[in-house]
Symmetry: C2
Subunit: 230 residues, 2 copies
DNA sequence: AGGCACTCGTGCACACGTTCACAAAGCCAG
DNA sequence: CTGGCTTTGTGAACGTGTGCACGAGTGCCT
């Protein structure tokens, strides 16, 4: 059999960095770079070189000592591990401000996540066209999920409607959800949920600003010493 | 002096959960709930009760044993700790799909982060009105930041323009940045950067989907056992 | 062929975060 | 006032993630 089949579990922290490496490697490939060292990649990703090596070691030993990593091969391996060897169509629930922006944003399809459909509960919105996709009624959700083989749903509704949206997605057969609504979704254990909450992000920044202002006499004034920040 | 002035450092993990508690407590207050236990709050936030207690203990001892926490007081304390006692105006760079959605989304101002301005480098977009705010040219950024006392900038440009946007924000005097562009920003150490990357989130979901499909014979079929997921 | 410079892969120690478990503290009933 | 019930606050154990430091390969140059 193959040396080791994919039974190794990759730590969450690593999984969340692999997409960053992948994007950078893609850019490097476009620029004609064929080989890259852990230190070079680390610099571009804004992380520690040892971390890069450890992260990549979970995929297997795909580097060459004394040389570095072959960019194209590494791209292939990361894509394979992340399941990006084929497209994952997504369905968007909610055609408000955010849903429209998401549907209109081309970057989705380009990166392997084509919008299979966008639905809303409001009849006034149904029928309008967003980014080449016609808004359909939420009752058509099961059909869209089934015929387009959708596994990933995006909740882009107001908070009050989010749990209902999630329930419908789950019932329709979706197994992963990306939630933009500011609520904690309650779903069966087997469903993977990730949350993006703008208010939370801003409040975290607010905490640091407040701390800066309220506390230290040694208010950080030193302008320089650049550091890459994820 | 006061028992202990705010010189305790709150762990990052806790800071990122406080906004969630805050929102839930606000909702509870609106429903007339006056007191809540760590277990009740934990349930609503989808976390462990011990974690809630430890998180809240970093703010001080604001609970009452045998009873729980007084909702209104806790709201006040969390808001104070997060620096939400006053508004933090934000400036948005980039009036594309995302920038428009952010400006149009009312929830920003409501939560204490009014949009002080939105700028773009494209003259064609300057002058259009989004969510009550007129788009101005990016050259006006320093003026907006100065006159409106803006500390927080939002980068909503395409990837290629993001570093320039960040540079301009920093030069204008912004000290925190929320970055939606899929690039690692290089900024002075003193600047706090948080990143929101949709492609990364989707790719993480893809990883789990791929794992589900490729691996286990014991494909998780058990429909129930609800769990709250952040 | 041998030595040297370079870079990966990883064992190990440390830091951070989570969870358990329990004493301390408050409330209430009788 | 006492005893019992509830819930907080936190010490301690555990698990996960990070970063150093170094052995082990690899390629290049002489």
């Amino acid at each position: 059999m193959a040396p080791d089949r994919n039974r190794r579990r990759i730590p969450d922290a690593t999984v969340s960095r692999l997409p960053v490496y992948l994007r950078i490697l893609g850019e490097q490939a476009d620029e004609g770079v064929e080989s890259i060292s852990s230190e070079g990649l680390a610099e571009l990703a804004g992380v520690n070189a040892a971390k890069v090596r450890k992260d990549l070691s979970y995929l297997g030993s795909y580097g060459t000592r004394g040389v570095g990593y072959e960019v194209a091969y590494l791209v292939y391996q990361i894509r394979r591990e992340l399941g990006l060897t084929h497209d994952w169509p997504v369905v968007i629930v909610g055609a408000g401000n955010l849903g429209q922006a998401l549907a209109g944003y081309g970057g989705f399809g380009e990166r392997g996540f084509p919008v299979a459909g966008i639905v809303d509960i409001d009849d006034a919105k149904v029928g309008t066209v967003l980014g080449g996709t016609r808004v359909r009624h939420i009752d058509e959700l099961p059909q869209i999920v089934a015929t387009r083989r959708v596994n990933i749903g995006v909740v882009a509704t107001p908070g009050a409607a989010a749990q209902d949206a999630a329930d419908r997605l789950v019932k329709a057969g979706v197994t992963s959800i990306l939630n933009f609504a500011p609520v904690v979704l309650s779903v069966p254990r087997a469903i993977e949920v990730r949350k993006v909450d703008l208010a939370v992000e801003l409040q975290i920044l607010s905490y640091h600003e407040q701390r800066r202002a309220g506390g230290a006499i040694h208010a950080v004034q030193n302008g320089n010493g650049r550091s890459a920040s994820a």
